[in-house]
Assembly symmetry: C3
Homo-oligomer: 204 residues x 3
Amino acid sequence: MLRKQVVLWADLAGTVVFAIEGASAAIHAGLDLLGVLVLSFMVALGGGVIRDLLIGAAPPSAIRDWRYPVLAFAAGLFTFLLHTQVEAVPAMVLTTLDAAGLALFAVAGAEKALDFEINPFIATLMGTITGCGGGVMRDMLLTRIPMVLVANIYASAALLGAAVLVIGRRLGCPPAVAAVLGGVVCFVLRVAAVRFNWQLPRVI
Amino acid sequence: MLRKQVVLWADLAGTVVFAIEGASAAIHAGLDLLGVLVLSFMVALGGGVIRDLLIGAAPPSAIRDWRYPVLAFAAGLFTFLLHTQVEAVPAMVLTTLDAAGLALFAVAGAEKALDFEINPFIATLMGTITGCGGGVMRDMLLTRIPMVLVANIYASAALLGAAVLVIGRRLGCPPAVAAVLGGVVCFVLRVAAVRFNWQLPRVI
Amino acid sequence: MLRKQVVLWADLAGTVVFAIEGASAAIHAGLDLLGVLVLSFMVALGGGVIRDLLIGAAPPSAIRDWRYPVLAFAAGLFTFLLHTQVEAVPAMVLTTLDAAGLALFAVAGAEKALDFEINPFIATLMGTITGCGGGVMRDMLLTRIPMVLVANIYASAALLGAAVLVIGRRLGCPPAVAAVLGGVVCFVLRVAAVRFNWQLPRVI
């Protein structure tokens, strides 16, 4: 029961962070108010919607529970109205909040997939998709090659965090411990990757 | 029973209008016959398919009922063969037909979501997605930023029309009255927005 | 039972071919290792995932059965490590393998849709989507207009192959005969279209 509450609050916190980022990207791309709200929704909830469709949890929780879209739209509207103040937030704060949102979503996504009796390997992928799916949809709507496919370690951090949770559960860790461990790994790896500019190898 | 018939015919009429528009966009983008048929299908039925997946109505009606794809493909083929004549249709006629299609889809989409016991707020979003989803898929396939996110009042008209229907139903209106009211609001708002070049606010 | 085995092996073979192609496209686009793996997954399994969501077979087999993603990732990693050798494979060999993959997926996709009691006309479309969906997702992720909508006969070959299978089954052919016939038609048409540069008509 307590665990459910924690997952819910983590989920809602991640939703707010990602919705603000989606709204920011939309404002920079010159979209109008509606475009800003759509991107808030997509970035905040797109990853979870894809995960839920894939694991057979239709309707997705973002559709079933009105608190998610209301929160995403509210955060988007807030960003639209206060964009000057949001712009003034230092980049490192945004990166840290984004890493926290990524960690929350990766862990919550893998957790939910396990609850739906999805194979552990695939539950790890589902955590990654939950964390990164919204950003991919943002980039596709703005006709950019998805940042996570090109740029520094982002999806990899989500993947590793989800893997730590899944492996921890397999080894008999209490669920809360596995979740915290996975989240911390994802968060630390992401922040360190930005700080030290780590990159994955590429051919060309 | 009569209501079901009306919804069905409205849906089929909207399908034809949107399929012709999809085919036109494909022809302008230099796609071949198959690309024209694919865009006819996507623009006409894409919004409804996304709605049905999200509300848990799988398989979507566009897949379950062969009349929808056949109609979309027929309208696309017709546009391909008679493109010179279709091009000659005045822009205001096209805008009016498009606004009618948008109204039909927004109302039918919200109605169907309510039938699936989706929360009223989210049913409104589902109506909007039904009306606009096909156009978004068209723009993404043609690698353009979706028109509805940037341009004048379009998705907002669908949103308002769907909201009128949902609120009307909540206030105890007979379903047919709520649907007609919602459709008229969407249609009039869209046509007026084009006529007077209304825009939503944007930051930049 | 034997038939199930054959479909499974055909599916796995198609997965490997398409994953290698996806990885190649990702390497050429300058994506990093993770991007290469994502495109391997998407090209190999994206079409089947879309089909499964549309016919109501959630979770899709690519999510339910860990062998599919493991195989796609392994083929992607292999291509990443041995890209010089993969590049050296003559274009005609790649075209032939790709045509074989297309034929396998088109036939397996139509077959699965029929198993889910989808209308024959729509089962044909589902076969086409299974064959072409992954390539469309690749092009959208790389922000290109999907090749199948513009270029020479590709989706049309998948469509015809799937149609042959569906019609064959309708006329009472043994399933294996209908599948082989459909696959051969798709394969031969695709290879011939590349060899003789056949194109579908277009308006402009």
